[in-house]
């Protein structure tokens, strides 16, 4: 009953307002709304009514269509980039210089002795493939232990179906290849990798060129050997700063090897970083031109290269941001011996907006990969992430870490003795596309990125005329000897300087903001229909009202049904008082019948009173009538 009372009250409320049928409601709405258009639908004659109805509908759909476009634009989170170019005082980039060769051959010779003898012998076998020619230089027995772990084989595929695999140090053995070889019709140098000695789980890594195969094989073997050497020892075996950096000049200030930070890089041994900004403030450069840049003279002592490990000779250098790890294999450039290399630098700064505008990370903390390079105290970069991800996989699958990447805690580097199958594991992991994809998907780019664009030019240095004295002075400074200990093949001059326009900043800003969205939405709504948020609220109100009407109708319909049923049971049961009252209050019954003449119901309902004579005095019906007759 309480509910009913509430409904009745709601009904009364409705009566005061728009009315109690849908049509009334609509008319009321059209008459009272602030949206342009609906008002005209009810005010005019049938033709205009139709036109206005059509127009209103058209504009409403236009508004919704345009809103769709606008919201879509907003949700795509576009950015606008602005570019600025100029010269300003900037931090001089960190400069990493390394020798292309990681260790002095004279220092590591004792470690690699066996391997070198082995490879020499192997090369001899390869180059003179006649099997009868057993002119073994049997001076020393070869350490075949190393060999058996990863043998080099020749695969003769003249006969496609039955390739002949020839282990270089074994008797000729014919075996079915396990189908991984490429169908090359010529003899090719190959490596064979087995997961375990004597196990069947083997793959052949094919190379079409023996040079490539030998290099890769040597790298694998030497990696295994060197990974057992402790880090201190490895640093000692590499090039020392005082040997490598002969002269240094930054702007007008002299500098020397002590201004460089030493870092051990697995690929290139000892690397030296100028202006890394780890301990002291980064240097600024406020002048363009070679005069104000960094000038270095390096000695790479090419005679001391490990012959099989790195075939290219030169210095590897890289410009990078302060406090970032130099990934020389990715971004490094070579400087050739016997030349002066000038590098003009242009700094490209990228400032990206983070989520949701682009998928980037500010400091790498939200990347699900443990950054192994953080042990160097360096900032996050996508290269670091990819490498850490690989190393993590390697540790997970092979049980040991690869020598080229930093170690997670409590894990050792792989070597042939402790982890005999690591090479197989590594090579299968490396060629696994799935693992790579996982890493690529989980690593994100950094939002703020600095790239150094280099303009590289070279000239011969020292010139023939100056060669003599330059070598003399440099040799004297390094060794205090009067002999020339340097030569053209080992000496490199580097000039690194800012170009005239040294920076280019590309920064992003949101193309569409919420303010933009709102003003555009409002503009559209206002443009087509003159509406505002209040109009939307009005519309919402109407919907609520119509819901009320529906509820009331449903209730009354139910009641009517009940009544009918009751009447059917007791044909002439007298109506109860409450029912009678309701019949007067709830005009829903009458309205449905009287739908044909809706305007009459707009009158304040006085159900009991007789039809008044004063009706003719009323203003309103005339009001409505006159346009009606007008249209006629």
């Amino acid at each position: 009953m309480n509910l009913k009372k509430y409904f009745v009250r709601a009904l009364h409320r409705l009566q005061k307002g728009p009315g109690y049928t849908y049509k009334e409601l609509l008319v009321w709405y059209c008459d009272n709304t602030n949206t342009h258009g609906p008002k005209r639908i009810i005010k005019e004659g049938p033709k205009k009514k139709f036109i206005w109805f059509f127009l209103t509908l058209l504009f409403a759909s236009l508004v919704f269509w345009q809103w769709g476009i606008l919201i879509n634009t907003y949700l795509s989170y576009n950015v606008t980039s602005s570019l600025s170019i100029g010269f300003k005082t900037m931090k001089f980039p960190a400069v990493t210089v390394c020798n292309a060769n990681p260790f002095k051959y004279s220092e590591v010779k004792h470690l690699l002795k066996e391997l070198d003898r082995l490879i020499e012998a192997a090369l001899e076998r390869i180059l003179q493939p006649s099997p009868g020619n057993s002119s073994e230089n049997t001076s020393l027995p070869l350490d075949l232990e190393l060999w058996h772990q990863i043998p080099l084989v020749l695969i003769d595929e003249h006969d496609k179906d039955n390739p002949i695999i020839l282990d270089i140090f074994e008797r000729n053995q014919t075996a079915k290849d396990n189908g991984t070889t490429a169908g090359n019709a010529t003899t090719a140098g190959n490596e064979i990798l087995c997961s375990h000695q004597g196990s069947d789980n083997c793959t052949y890594r094919n190379f079409t060129s023996a040079a490539q195969a030998v290099t890769e094989w040597y790298i694998l073997q030497s990696t295994s050997i060197l990974s057992k050497v402790p880090l201190q020892e490895r640093i000692r075996m590499g090039y020392q700063a005082e040997d490598m950096i002969l002269a240094c000049l930054y702007g007008a200030e002299p500098c020397n090897y002590k201004n460089f930070t030493q870092i051990y890089h697995p690929d290139h041994g000892n690397c030296y970083i100028f202006n890394w900004g780890m301990d002291e403030e980064a240097l600024n450069s406020s002048n363009p031109g070679a005069e104000f840049g960094l000038k270095l003279i390096l000695d790479i002592s090419q005679q001391d290269y490990i012959p099989y490990l790195s075939s290219a000779a030169g210095a590897r250098l890289m410009l990078h941001q302060q406090k970032s790890f130099p990934f020389l294999k990715d971004q490094g450039i070579y400087a050739m011996a016997g030349t002066e290399t000038s590098i003009g630098v242009l700094v490209d700064e990228l400032e990206r907006m983070g989520y949701p505008y682009s998928d980037c990370t500010m400091n790498g903390s939200d990347v699900p990969v443990k950054n192994l390079y953080s042990q160097y105290n360096t900032s996050y970069s996508i290269q670091a992430c990819l490498r850490s991800c690989f190393q993590n996989h390697m540790v997970e699958i092979c049980g040991c870490g690869h020598y080229m990447f930093p170690l997670p805690e409590g894990v050792n580097y792989c070597n042939n003795e402790d982890y005999p199958g690591w090479a197989y594991c590594y090579s299968s992991l490396r060629s696994s596309i799935r693992h790579r994809q996982i890493c690529i998907d989980s690593c994100k780019e950094t939002c703020n990125d600095t790239q150094y664009k280099m303009t590289i030019s070279m000239a011969d240095w020292p010139s023939e005329a100056s060669e003599d004295w330059i070598f003399h002075i440099l040799s004297y400074e390094r060794d205090m000897s009067t002999n020339v200990t340097l030569d053209r093949n080992g000496i490199i001059k580097l000039n690194i300087y800012f170009q005239e326009y040294n920076y280019r900043t590309i920064s992003e800003s949101a193309a569409t903001t919420i303010v933009w969205l709102l003003s555009s939405l409002g503009g559209q709504f206002g443009f087509w229909m003159g509406g505002s948020v209040l109009c939307l609220i009005e519309f919402g109100e109407i919907i609520i009202d119509s819901l009320w009407i529906t509820i009331i109708n449903v209730i009354s319909w139910c009641k009517g049904l009940k009544q009918k049923r009751a009447q059917a049971r007791y044909p002439d049961a007298p109506p109860t008082v409450s029912e009678l009252v309701e019949a007067h209050t709830n005009l829903g019954f009458q309205h449905e019948d009287a739908g044909a003449l809706p305007r009459d119901e707009a009158l304040p309902p006085e159900p009991g009173t007789p039809p008044p004579n004063y009706d003719s005095l009323r203003v309103q019906p005339l009001d409505i009538l006159s346009p009606d007759s007008d249209a006629d």
Binding site: L55, I382, G526, G530, A594
Partner: protein
């Protein structure tokens, strides 16, 4: 290009070249004064010597010394002097060649160069194109380097690769070029990591001894990084790499996209450019310019230039068929350079393009200590084909890799779209006038349609009145008096047609229509709100009646 293999075809050409070389070669150790004298002497002897070789060669290869007037006279007896001089140098020894129209020998063009080197190269190139134009493509491909010759080792993304990963295409001037990962066999290799060990590493065998001494004077290879469906204009934008060195090329990829039509004048596919794309590749400005030139060449000279692909139904120029093509070509080329052919106006930029920014650096390779075994093994790799030991100046090591996998994408977005224009418009209208399109339509409605219809009605009424008056005048006494009196509420015509039915009349208190005719008309009229309509009412009623 194997000049040695090609020799059997270009033997004549080479022979003449040798002869020419001798007459320029005199200058080497001698003074410049001597040189010019020598030049002439030898020219004359050469001159006659050349005639039997190629008929046209003597015309074109006249080395003229501008200084000596009397020599000119001798020459002038053969061809006329009124050459259109391209370059009147002030230097004493200017070397050049003269091109004449074969049909009309009085029209000659003299091309001079300040250096004999340029002159000879240019001259040689012309003859070379002549000869090559006559050789069918298959022969040329056979004569040029094969992939086996060129590639010693190949390594991509940690895996070995070989010549099957390379697609050959024949370049008119560079001979056979090989494209790695051209996508010709349907698959496009992709690299997943940046860094030099994951890129392409090749060792190229460049047989320096086998170079054509006049056509190409530099040793090395030319490479170009381009998209799969882009034509490599290797002579225009190739990067040269050095022998006996490891060239490491780090790439950074940039993709750009411009907005087409109303925003900028670029073309999406090139379909809207009236120049036929002769290259079987996607559109680029370069392709358009070349195609445009080739078309002009075919139109005006009747044959196609050798360095560009053939349009349908045309053939390459050569002496035998088109004796004066060179003159024509040079004329046309000059026009082209001066933008008189209109190609530069017709051709538009492509809207989207890809660009690889290359960072090239060079290291010595092989290093002194590894040189020995490296060369030995590479020679073995080369294997049976060549028995000689390789020299390090015959080799070039090339590494091409992505520096990082970041891609830079530069795209244009329209600053103002129609949607934004409309919403700004609406915003302004709403802000200042609280008005909308509906409002505008209303204004139009009221001030144009409604007012027009009112005016029309008035006119109609007037006309009718006038007509009635005239009628009345004519026909004495028509029922004219009734009309004005009948207006208003008494007018029986105004009564609603659908009279209330019995039912409605019974049930509803009083239909408002009913009392109206019954009420006494005039007194309550004053109560009515819309006084504006009272004036109008007669009109509407009048119209309603008819």
């Amino acid at each position: 290009r194997y000049s040695s293999m090609k020799d059997y075809l270009s033997e004549l050409d080479k022979e003449t070249k040798k002869a020419l070389e001798t007459f320029y070669g005199f200058s080497e150790g001698k003074s410049k004064v001597r040189r010019s004298a020598d030049e002439w002497n030898s020219t004359e002897s050469d001159f006659f010597k050349q005639i039997p070789l190629l008929k046209f060669e003597d015309f074109s290869r006249t080395a003229t010394d501008l200084r000596s007037g009397q020599k000119r006279k001798i020459e002038g007896s053969v061809f006329h002097k009124d050459s259109s001089i391209v370059n009147s140098g002030d230097s004493n020894d200017i070397i050049g060649f003269q091109l004449c129209d074969a049909n009309n020998s009085s029209e000659c063009a003299l091309y001079t160069f300040s250096s004999g080197v340029n002159a000879i190269q240019e001259w040689y190139k012309l003859h070379y194109m002549n000869i090559m134009a006559q050789i069918p493509l298959e022969t040329k491909e056979r004569l040029s380097y094969s992939a086996d010759d060129l590639l010693l080792t190949c390594f991509f993304d940690g895996l070995s690769c070989d010549k099957r990963h390379f697609t050959r295409f024949h370049h008119p001037l560079h001979g056979n070029c090989y494209t790695f990962n051209s996508g010709a066999n349907g698959t496009i290799l992709s690299t997943s990591t940046g860094g030099s060990e994951y890129g392409l590493q090749v060792v190229l065998y460049i047989d320096e001894a086998d170079y054509n001494p006049f056509l190409v004077t530099s040793t090395g290879a030319k490479i170009m990084v381009h998209d799969q469906d882009e034509y490599p204009f290797i002579e225009d934008i190739g990067t040269e790499i050095e022998t006996a060195a490891a060239t490491s090329i780090g790439m950074h990829f940039t993709r750009s996209r411009k907005l087409s039509k109303p925003y900028s004048d670029c073309t999406e596919t090139g379909a809207d450019i009236p120049v036929e794309n002769l290259y079987n590749k996607s559109y680029s400005l370069q392709i358009c310019l070349h195609s445009c030139f080739q078309k002009a060449m075919v139109d005006s000279c009747g044959c196609a230039q050798y360095a560009q692909p053939l349009p349908a139904g045309a053939e390459y120029c050569n002496y035998k068929k088109n004796p004066n093509w060179m003159y024509c070509y040079y004329r046309l080329h000059e026009k082209f350079v001066k933008e008189q052919l209109g190609c530069q106006q017709i051709c538009k930029d492509a809207c989207s393009f890809k660009e690889w920014a290359l960072t090239t650096s060079i290291a010595q390779w092989p290093s002194t200590v590894s040189e020995d075994w490296m060369l030995r093994v590479l020679s073995w790799d080369k294997g049976q084909k060549i028995n000689k030991k390789l020299n390090k100046t015959d080799l070039a090591n090339l590494m091409v890799f992505y520096k990082d996998l970041n891609e830079r994408f530069i795209s244009e977005n329209p600053a103002n779209t129609l949607v934004i224009l409309l919403s700004n418009f609406g915003g302004q209208l709403g802000l200042w006038m609280s008005c909308s399109v509906v409002c505008v339509i209303e204004i139009v409605e009221v001030f144009f349609i409604d007012s027009l219809s009112i005016v029309m009605r008035r006119q109609w009424q007037k006309a009718k009145k006038w007509w009635n008056d005239r009628k009345r005048d004519q026909s004495g006494k028509p029922p004219q008096a009734g009309d004005p009196e009948r207006q208003g509420h008494n007018n029986p015509m105004c009564v609603d047609e659908d009279l209330p039915t019995f039912n409605t009349a019974l049930r509803l208190p009083l239909p408002q229509d009913n009392p109206l005719p019954r009420t006494p008309p005039p007194n309550y009229s004053t109560l009515r709100l819309e006084t504006a309509f009272t004036e109008q009412l007669p009109d509407t009623l009048e119209v309603g009646q008819h």
